[in-house]
Symmetry: C2
Subunit: 297 residues, 2 copies
C-alpha cells in the first residue's frame, strides 16, 4: 500500500489539475474576475474536501475517476465561502493561506462577485458530470441536491450567519457546535456523501459516512481552534490568537486546551468506529481522520 | 382569450405562492437570515423572469405546471443579484422597489449571506424538480447547466463586474451592450430556454427563443435607462437620474432619448419576428415583448 503522504500528494496534484481546467481561464473576459476566482481557488489549501470525496468513493468500492467534477465543485464552494468570510463586513481578514485575502488584492466588489462566480461554477461543474465523467443524470441530480442542501441557508450559510451574529458574545457550547456543524461540518459531510453516491454506495454506507463526516468536521474545528491558540503562525498562515482577538468563541476558551484535545481525539475515534464495517479500501479515510489530530496547519 | 393583464395577475399570484413555499420559513433558524432572504424575494417585482419561463413553456405547447420550481429558481437568482448589486461596495443603493435595500435593513454581512443563500436555494429548487414537478433527471440536469452558465462568471456575474469597473468612465456602445447582455439579458434568455426545455421544445424553438431573449433583454435595459431619465420616481421606486448621477453609462446618454426609444422598438419587433413560427399559444410572450415599451416601472 502506497504511503498516505505520497498518495495524498498524488491526489492533490490531480485535484489542482482538475480545478485549473474547470475554472474559466485568466484570459477569458472579464479577466480581472477570472484572475480573482483562480487566485483564491488554485495553488493553496489542503484540499481536504476533495480528498474526502475521493476517499469516500474509494471506500465504497467506486471508481475514483468519477469524482473529478464533484471534487472540483466542493473546492470551489470552499474557496467561495472563504472569500465571502474574509470580507470587511464579515471577519475582515487581511491574510489567508499566507497571502493577502481576495478583497485586499482585487477590491471588495470583485471579491463578492468572485465568490458568486465560484459558487455558480461549482453547480455548472456538477451539471457537466454526465458529459465529462459519465455520471448518470439521476446521480447528478442527487448530488446537486446534497450539495445545495449542505451549503445553503439551513447549512453552511446558516452557520456563517450565526457565527457573525455571535461575535463578541458569550455563547453556549451548543451554539458553538451549531456554528461549526453548519459552517464547516456540512460541507465535509456533503463531500463524503457526494463521493460515496458517485461510487454507488448503499444507504447504510451513506449513514455511516455521515457520522464520520460530522465527527471529522468537529475534530477539524477543535484542532483549528487549538492551532489558533498554540499553532505556529508560519504554518497556519495567520496570527496566533487571531480568532480570540476577533471576539470569536473557541473550544479552548470554552473547555480549556486539555479537554479540547481530548474532545478532538474522541471525535476521531468516532470516525474510525464508523468505518469498522468498511473494507480495506477505506484506508485513506481512516488516515485522513487520524491526520486531523497531528496537523500543523 | 383571457386578457393579458388578468392572466398576468393570476400567474403572478401563482409565482408568489410557489416562492413563499420554496423558501425556508421565517421561523426556521437562523431566523434573521430567512427573514432577509424572504424580504428581498417576496412581495415585490414584476416577476418578468418567472413569467418568461412560464410563457416559453406554454409557447412550445408544454404544461405550465411543470415550470413551478424553475420559475421560483429564476426569481431567487434575480433577488440574490439585486441584493449583491445594492451592496455598499457595488452600487451602494439605499432603496429598491420602493423599500430600503436588504443591507440597510439587515446589515451588510447578512445581506451578502442572504444573497448566497438565495443563489444556493435556487439550485436546490432545481434539484427537486423531479420529485416536486415530475421533471426527468435528464431535463433537470440540462436546466441546471443552462442556468449556471447564464448567471456565472461568463454571464450575469461577468456583466456585473464589467459594469462596476466601468463606473465613472466613458465606455463604448459595444461595452454597454456587453454589460447589459450579460448582466440582464443572460438571465432573461435562460428563463426562456429553461421554460422551453421543460415544455419539451425543439432545438429550432430554443434558437428562436434565444433571439427573443436577447432582444427582450436589450429592450428592457434601454427602457430601464429611459425610465431612469424621464420616469416617475413614485413608479420606478428610485430617484430620477440616479444611474446617471452614479456615473453609469446609459443609452439615452450615449444615443439620445429619441434614438434610444427607436432602438427599443426595433428590439421588440425582433422579438415578435422570432415568434412568427410559433403557434397561438405564444400570445403571452408576444404581449410581454410589447409590454416592455409601455411599462412605467
Amino acid at each position: 500500500m502506497m504511503k498516505f503522504r505520497d498518495c495524498w500528494a498524488l491526489r492533490l496534484e490531480k485535484v489542482e489539475r482538475i480545478l485549473a481546467e474547470a475554472l474559466p481561464g485568466r484570459h477569458e473576459e472579464p479577466k480581472l474576475l477570472h484572475e480573482a476566482m483562480r487566485y483564491s481557488t488554485l495553488e493553496g489549501g489542503k484540499r481536504l474536501r476533495a480528498l474526502l470525496a475521493m476517499a469516500a468513493c474509494e471506500a465504497v468500492g467506486g471508481d475514483l475517476k468519477k469524482t473529478g467534477g464533484f471534487a472540483a465543485a466542493v473546492e470551489m464552494v470552499h474557496a467561495y465561502s472563504l472569500i465571502h468570510d474574509d470580507l470587511p463586513c464579515m471577519d475582515d481578514d487581511d491574510m489567508r493561506r499566507g497571502k493577502p485575502t481576495n478583497h485586499r488584492v482585487f477590491g471588495e466588489a470583485v471579491a463578492v462577485l468572485a465568490g458568486d462566480g465560484l459558487l455558480t461554477q461549482a453547480f455548472l461543474e456538477l451539471a457537466r458530470m454526465p458529459e465529462k465523467y459519465g455520471i448518470s443524470a439521476e446521480t447528478t441530480v442527487r448530488v446537486v441536491e446534497e450539495l445545495a442542501q449542505a451549503i445553503g441557508s439551513l447549512g453552511m450559510v446558516g452557520g456563517q450567519v450565526v457565527d457573525i451574529l455571535s461575535e463578541g458574545k458569550e455563547i453556549s457550547g451548543e451554539t458553538l457546535e451549531y456554528i461549526h456543524s453548519h459552517k464547516t461540518g456540512a460541507l465535509f459531510t456533503a463531500a463524503l456523501r457526494g463521493g460515496a453516491l458517485l461510487g454507488g454506495c448503499s444507504e447504510r454506507q451513506l449513514e455511516l459516512l455521515t457520522i464520520y463526516g460530522e465527527n471529522f468536521g468537529l475534530a477539524f474545528q477543535i484542532t483549528d481552534d487549538i492551532l489558533d491558540e498554540v499553532g505556529d503562525s508560519s504554518q497556519t498562515g495567520k496570527a496566533v490568537g487571531s480568532d480570540r482577538e476577533a471576539g470569536k468563541q473557541t473550544y479552548p476558551h470554552l473547555y480549556g486546551l486539555e479537554r479540547s484535545r481530548e474532545l478532538a481525539r474522541e471525535c476521531v475515534q468516532a470516525c474510525l468506529d464508523a468505518l469498522e464495517e468498511f473494507p480495506a479500501q477505506a484506508w485513506f479515510l481512516r488516515e485522513l481522520a487520524k491526520f486531523v489530530l497531528i496537523r500543523e496547519s
